[in-house]
Amino acid sequence: MPKLKKDWWKITGGLLVAYSLIAGLSIHVPQLPIIYESIRNLFYHVSMWFTMTTMMATAFIFSIKYLRQPLAKTDTAAVQAAAVGLFFGFLGIVTGMMWANFTWGKPWTNDPQLNGAATAILVYLAYFVLRSSIDDQEKKARVSAVYNIFAFVLMLVFIGIMPRLAEHSIHPGKSGNPALGVKGLDPTMRLVFYPAVLGWIMIAFWIWKIRIRIKTIHQKIAEL
């Protein structure tokens, strides 16, 4: 039995995602030209990016923690957060491409936000290449933490500031937060959108916790 006091957020996350999946497909949405029913993808596509950013920020925080106090536990937490973030980044790109194919006629366009997202994914892939190419555990943890901090700050610039400087972008949500074009969002859609974001972030943290536990067990087995 799950302990309610400890695991309430896992249950809430599951319920919120389930709710957003069902409500996202069944509520009444405004019929906008070009987008039409595909606007429902907002619930799924945008929440992927929110989740990715949250996980990358978690990885960033744990990397700083590691440099302040080098513990193998902190390093594992940072890497697993980056891994989960990368996974949600891929999901974000795939859902975005499906949406773009419907509304813009092709899966990829040369747009600052899309380029920023793809670059972020390249950077985190590079992070994992870096980790796999250093053998010494302590050095691997330290060097990759340093790279993660450097990369995350530059990526914040790329994803957070560059799209606003861009001269033209067809991706919505340009003014204000690039991922959050909710100023013009219909109130009933917000009822699904916010729970979806929250639910997915909770699920991501859950995956992260499980991955840390698996990794810790693997390390313990390796030590035996």
Binding site: L130, K139, L154, V157
Partner: protein, 217 residues
């Protein structure tokens, strides 16, 4: 300050003592320009001209700053570690790399202009783009070179680590240099220059903060 000066001086002296290395790098850049000239048969539309030049400059910068930390042996690194402050070392290396990349890109651009035509209308903007790009690239590339030098087989690692990180800088620089070759007046020129300047400062500050963690062994 004095320590930084001596560290830069040491790098320059070492470079001048091995002229074959720096001439090799210049030759590499010139070779890329020549290949570009042959591939495009000398007729290049201005947009392509711009992108091509910056790609060549980026790759020669990656190539040249790969040696920032790669060229020193382990024992010599330890010797510097006992002599100098880590923050002074990274600052000296970055300043040295700024000079190196700036010189290299000035030579490359001149040869590129010679072969592929000169569409530049506002030379000042173009020079500004070169300068700001050199500073930012030196910051990012020196730092990634320090990371990659932690691992023995490091050339491809250096490229993998640095290329995606240079993307924001490169995009801004290309936009600034586009405004130098297009007759239409760019609307947000000052915003672009400011953004580039801030990005340069950010890269160097990050390298300055994080380098001591790499240096301790």
């Amino acid at each position: 300050m004095k320590q930084i000066y001596w560290l830069i001086r040491r790098d320059i002296l070492l470079e001048l003592r091995q002229p074959q290395v720096i001439s090799g790098i210049i030759l590499h850049a010139l070779g890329s320009v020549w290949i570009a000239y042959l591939a495009f048969k000398g007729i290049i539309p201005t947009n392509t001209w711009n992108s091509l030049l910056w790609i060549i400059l980026l790759f020669s910068a990656v190539h040249s700053s790969n040696r920032a930390f790669g060229s020193d042996s382990g024992g010599r690194k330890l010797y510097y570690y006992t002599l100098a402050d880590a923050r002074h070392i990274i600052l000296a290396k970055i300043i040295y790399n700024i000079l190196l990349i700036l010189t290299l890109s000035a030579i490359t651009s001149m040869v590129f202009l010679l072969f592929n035509g000169n569409p530049i209308l506002h030379p000042l903007r173009f020079i500004l783009a070169l300068l700001l790009a050199s500073i930012g690239l030196a910051g990012i590339l020196t730092f990634t070179s320090a990371i990659a030098s932690q691992e023995a087989r490091n050339f491809s690692l250096m490229a993998i680590l640095s290329l995606p990180l240079t993307a924001p800088l490169l995009l801004l620089v290309i936009r600034l240099s586009t405004s130098a070759i297009q007759p239409t007046v760019a609307s947000n020129l000052s915003a672009m220059v400011l953004a580039l300047l801030l990005l340069d400062i950010l890269c160097i500050t990050l390298a300055w903060i994080l380098f001591p963690y790499l240096w301790m062994e």
